[in-house]
């Protein structure tokens, strides 16, 4: 890639470089655990519900979804997706799933981590952990992986209460209790599988650390409301990883604290993530991992991305009451991370439903000029609300939207050329609506 060489328009946070070692460490641990035949779990992103318990029990989780992003970024995913299709899986299924199914097929064929697998590949699992969170098709593909791995699959429930339920309060109690009970069940499952007891003190210590990480990471994103926005979505996507997978780790906390300091310093000195911030945008939902250089081209035009990826932000400070034991506490955080946008939307009188809510909130709080959506051919969950989000922003806040067709893994779908060709037209559109917003007395 020639464009990699020339200077980037986005000034990345220096401290974001500190994240890379954390991620590498995560993968190394996975590979190592495999070699040393210690328990390894293939785990879905489970929004802090199961990871921390597995870690406390000495299980090393590896994350097929994150592995999918790596394979995509390195262009290896294409091959694995081809293999998955050959296995008879429809090609509209989740790109991460297709990637993992292809990878696993190769792994079984070669009887080891397949040649050319990035980051040391994913070690053979002792068991697999699904989460119902957000996208419930996900447990379907771990179910499918059973044809390769004869290991147990455990599924963590994840209630999806209606966003506009007037009796939400009653629902919360039922939901959190259900999750807590099921977490007890998960602990029992692990204790029985691993023939050892959970060290609750260890878990509590990890949980304390994790909650601190939530706080800092949340505050960092709050700082991005500043003009110009000090931190670009590129940095968010790099840094969301440790919060997701290693929030229990004191090193993670230390890194986020440094990130906070750097971002704070930028805000204090009025430094933006791009040289000349003409437009502030929000990005929905998952980025094209294989073509992130695309954002530098937009940055050259003065496009700064101040918010993004609703489902991947840390939970805000907890507003859900209730104490309870450790599983209960874990359940509350995970549940809160899901329900908090509904909470905020309720305060605003539900101008939007579903995942359009956070985008509405952000548009107001981050003074957004436009929304760029990235409909994904293979991800219905991340794509479902795009049109509604664009409609709500256009109709209720006079913020225009633009779509760029793509996929999380399949790079052949992504059409950057067309998008760049349309960029000037979209800038006119953003200029126009700025005037409209002003004329309606909105302050951006």
């Amino acid at each position: 890639m020639a464009e990699e060489k020339k200077k980037r328009a986005i000034t990345r946070l220096e401290s974001s470089a500190l994240v890379r070692p954390l991620v590498n460490k995560m993968y190394m641990e996975g590979a190592l655990a495999g070699m040393e035949e210690r328990p390894v779990a293939w785990s879905m992103v489970n929004w802090w519900e199961g990871d921390i318990i597995m870690r406390a029990m000495g299980v090393t989780p590896v994350y097929p979804e994150n592995f999918g992003t790596v394979c995509a970024a390195l262009g290896i995913a294409q091959k694995y997706m081809g293999v998955s299709a050959a296995e008879g899986f429809p090609t509209h299924l989740c790109g991460y799933a297709q990637n993992t199914i292809g990878y696993t097929t190769e792994m079984k064929r070669e009887g080891k981590v397949p040649e050319g697998a990035p980051m040391g590949g994913m070690a053979q699992p002792t068991f697999m952990l699904c989460s119902e969170g957000y996208c419930d098709a996900r447990f379907k593909w771990f179910q499918s992986l059973r044809q390769f791995w004869n290991v147990p699959v455990w599924t963590l429930p994840f209630p999806h209460p209606v966003y506009t339920d007037p009796s939400l309060q009653d629902v919360h109690k039922v939901n959190v209790e259900y999750m807590a009970v099921e977490l007890q069940g998960f602990i029992a499952f692990l204790e029985n599988l691993l023939k050892k007891k959970l060290d609750r003190d260890k878990l509590e210590a990890m949980l304390n650390n994790q909650e601190k990480v939530f706080k800092v990471w949340w505050e960092i994103n709050e700082l991005r409301k500043a003009k110009p926005c000090p931190m670009h979505a590129r940095d968010f996507w790099t840094m969301m990883v440790p919060c997701f997978y290693t929030a229990y780790d004191p090193e993670t906390l230390a890194v986020y604290q440094q990130v906070y300091n750097e971002v704070k310093a930028r805000v204090d000195n009025g430094i933006g993530a791009i040289p000349d911030e003409k437009y502030r945008l929000v990005f929905a939902e998952l980025p094209p991992w294989h073509s992130l250089g695309f954002f530098d081209k937009l940055a050259e035009r003065g496009w700064n991305f101040a918010a993004e990826s609703a489902s991947y932000h840390p939970p805000p400070p907890m507003e859900l009451n209730g104490g309870g034991d450790l599983p209960y506490r874990i359940a509350r955080w995970t549940y809160w991370s899901y329900i908090n946008t509904g909470y905020r939307a309720a305060k605003m009188g539900y101008p939007a439903v579903g995942a359009a809510q956070p985008y509405y909130n952000w548009a107001v709080e981050y003074k957004i000029d436009g929304i760029l959506t990235h409909p994904l051919v293979t991800c219905r969950t991340a794509t479902f609300w795009h049109t509604h989000s664009m409609n709500v922003l256009r109709d209720k806040l006079d913020i225009p939207g633009m779509s760029i067709q793509g996929d999380i893994v399949d790079l052949t779908v992504f059409d950057a050329a067309t998008a760049l060709n349309q960029a000037p037209a979209f800038e006119e559109s953003m200029d126009h609506f700025r005037k409209v917003r002003k004329s309606k007395g909105l302050d951006w």
Binding site: T387, L420, Q422, P424, A425, D431, H432
Partner: protein, 270 residues
């Protein structure tokens, strides 16, 4: 003399508009062929020749169209979405929605009272959704796209294509001809197919009257009529619908480039 040029380097045709304050515009159109750069140069020089002008009379050139980014031509470049919108609006100031049926794709564009594109939707990259489908079928029927419209209006029972692919649609049309299906029904079938795709695009950006249709597709009054039926409105169609992007580009050239400045007009400075 201070003339401004807009050049729309499209996938099928390259169009030039020459424009000067207070005077009528000059238009010229040639086939793009394989080499966009050659087409651009040729189209511009022929246009100038026709108008009795030389390159020195040109203050600035705005290039647009799907071919533009591939050739480093013109003083500056702008997306054909903006240019179409601007061009149409200068003819019909009341227009708020523009349907542009081009060779590469169909577009629905919402414009404001200044002729700025404020929202747009573009059809996916499949010929069956573009004006290209029409040209292919017209070629099969050995008729000019202009006559296609009048002819298709005779259709009493438009065929329904069994495929969503322009290539297969072509074979199907050929067999239809061979079996004596009236040409007008074959044409009307394509027009219906494209009209319904256009309706979807309109739904995506939302319809605000007045609505105009431009691009090569608008030369086909049959397509215009069926789109009108589908949308339940009357469409405004300028005299030279396929030249609107070029004209809009000329207007932008007038706007964005200070008249006094003089610089290399065939190449953008790096």
């Amino acid at each position: 003399m201070s003339w401004f040029a807009g050049i729309d380097i499209g996938s099928v045709n390259t169009k030039v508009a020459l424009f000067r304050d207070g005077g009528p515009p000059h238009f010229h159109m040639i086939q793009s062929g394989a080499n966009y750069r050659v087409a651009a140069e040729k189209a511009l020089d022929e246009a100038l020749g026709k108008a009795g002008l030389s390159r020195n009379d040109i203050v600035a050139i705005m290039a647009t169209g799907s071919g533009a980014p591939r050739v480093d031509f013109g003083t500056d470049q702008l997306s054909d979405i903006s240019c179409s919108a601007r061009g149409v609006h200068s003819f019909f100031p009341s227009v708020r929605t523009v349907i542009d049926v081009g060779g590469q794709a169909s577009r629905a564009i919402r414009v404001n009272d200044e002729g700025r594109a404020i929202n747009f939707a573009v059809s996916e990259r499949c010929a069956a959704g573009s004006g290209r489908f029409l040209q292919i079928i017209a070629r099969v029927l050995q008729i000019d796209i202009k006559d296609a419209g009048t002819l298709s209006l005779k259709s009493s029972n438009p065929i329904i294509y069994t495929t969503g692919c322009a290539v297969f649609g072509e074979s199907e049309a050929i067999s239809r001809v061979a079996e004596g299906t009236p040409k007008e029904d074959i044409l009307a079938g394509v027009q219906n197919a494209i009209a319904s795709k256009i309706a979807n695009l309109i739904d995506r950006v939302g319809m605000e009257k007045d609505c105009a249709m431009v691009g090569g597709g608008a030369l086909d009054i049959g397509l215009v009529k069926r789109t009108e039926e589908r949308l339940g409105i009357t469409l405004l169609v300028p005299e030279n619908p396929q030249l609107m992007a070029a004209f809009g580009a000329a207007l932008y050239a007038r706007e964005v480039i200070p008249t006094n400045s003089k610089f290399d007009i065939t190449h953008r400075e790096a």
